[in-house]
Symmetry: C2
Amino acid sequence: MRLAFLGPVGTYGEQAAQRLAALEGLDAVAFIPQQGIRAVIRALADGDCDLAVVPVENSVEGGVTSCLDALWEHPDLAVARALVLPIRHALVGSGPLDAISEVLSHPQALAQCSLWLGEHLPQALQLPTSSTAEAARLVRGSRFRGAIASLEAAAEHGLEVLAHPINDVPGNCTRFLLLRRGERSHRGPHASLAFSLHANQPGALLESLGCFARQGLNMSRIESRPSKREMGEYIFFVDLELPEGAAPLDGAITDLTPLCEHLALFGAYPLTNLAAEETAD
Amino acid sequence: MRLAFLGPVGTYGEQAAQRLAALEGLDAVAFIPQQGIRAVIRALADGDCDLAVVPVENSVEGGVTSCLDALWEHPDLAVARALVLPIRHALVGSGPLDAISEVLSHPQALAQCSLWLGEHLPQALQLPTSSTAEAARLVRGSRFRGAIASLEAAAEHGLEVLAHPINDVPGNCTRFLLLRRGERSHRGPHASLAFSLHANQPGALLESLGCFARQGLNMSRIESRPSKREMGEYIFFVDLELPEGAAPLDGAITDLTPLCEHLALFGAYPLTNLAAEETAD
C-alpha cells in the first residue's frame, strides 16, 4: 500500500496520513511525501499511489480549494474517510527564548502566530520556508534561530520546545480527507458533493438546497467557488450529515439532478474529530 | 488620507489599492504597506489609517477568510467599494530563461505556476519568499535566479520579463475590498453580509436564504465558516446582487433578523470587474 501525502515528513499532513491509515486498519503502508496538493492528487490519479491524504478545510484559513477542485475534475477519485486534526503550533529551537532573533516557518504558520510573535519576539526577523517541518530542519544547531512547527517535528529533529501552543486562535484545526480510486459510496454518516446549476438566478440555489432539507439532511458546510475558474458562474460544494439507518441520500440526489448542469457525489464516509475529543478531555 | 494595504510595495495588493483610490476619486493618498491582513485591518480599526484595502476572494485559492472574520468582529468597519483584479504572474530576472536554476516567490504564487515550472524549469530549485515583490527585489543582479512576480514589480526593480503569463489557470483573479470606518450603507448594486443561526438543523439555512429569494435578490456567493473558530457551529457569509432602483435589502434583513443569533450587514457598494473588461477586449 502506497499513500501519498502533502510533505515533507514531519508536517501536520504526515500526522493526518498516519492517523487515517490507522483508522482504516491498514498496516505496512509506505507514506510517500509529495510537493503540493496537486502532486498528491496526481500520484493517486495516475496510479503511482493507492491512497492520498489532503487537507480540505482549516478553521482559520478556510477551504483548501485545490482539493475540492481536484475532486470535481477527477470523477475516478472517492472520499473514503475524514479526520479533523487540531493544529497546535510550537516555537522550537536550541537556545533560550530570549536569544531567538530569527523565526522560520511556512508563511501561513507565521501568520497564525502573528499576535504571539508580536508580543513575545517583536524584534525577531520572520523568515518564510516551504513547510513547518523544513523550518524545524533548518534551525538545528543554531541558538538564535527558532522554528514554528509541531511537537512531532521538534522531536524528530531533536529540538527543544520553547513555547507551546502559540497559535493566536486556540481552536485551530484542519480537516483532512483520505482519497482512493474507485466507486464513490452512497452510504455513510457524512457525505460531500458538488453541483453547478443550469440557471444563476434568484431562487435557483434555494430550490436546490430544498432537496436536502426535504429529506431531513443537515447541511454542515457550503461553499461556492467560481466555475471554470472565473468569477460569475459558480460551483457549490456541500457537506451533509446523514441520519443513521435511513438512506435518503439517493432521494436527494434524484431530486437535485434535473436542476444541475453537473452534479458529483464525492462519497459518503466516516469522520473522526480529534479536536472534539481534545475539548472533551 | 492614509490608506493601509497588504504590502510590501509592488504586490498585487498595492495595485488594487491604487485602482480603488482612483475609483473613489481620491488624490493625495498616502499608501501605507502593512505586514499581514490582520495588520491592515488593525491600522484602520485603530485609526492609524482612514482607509484599508484587503483581498477577500481569489478565484483559484478561494475565500481569504481573515478578511471576512475581521468584518464580523469589527462592526465599526464598512465595505465602501469592491474591485476584481486579474492576477497575471510573470517570470522575471536578468538572465536568459535557460540559465535560471532558482525560482523565488511567495509559496502561493509558486503553487499557482507549478505546472508551468514543471514544464519549463523542472530542475530549478523553488525558494519561498514572504511576497512576490520581495522575490523580485531578491533576484536583482543575478543571472541564475528568477522571481515569479507581477509586470509592475519587474518594472519597479528593472528586471526583464522572461515569460508572461505563466499561471496554470488563465482566469486567475482576486477580489479586493476598500474598507473605511463608519456606517454601513444599505444602498448599492452589491452587498455583503454574514449571519449565524439560532438552530443548526435541517432547513434552518434554507429558511434564511428564502428571505433573499422572496425579495428577488440574487446570491452571488455563499461560504460557511466555523463560528468561534471551531468546527460545528457556522457563520454564513453571503454576497448579494441588488436590482437597480428598488430597495429590497431592508426587507430581506427584516425577514432574516428573527432567524439569526447574530446578523451583520458589511455594506452595499459598487463593484468594478477589471477581469471582465480584459476578457471583453
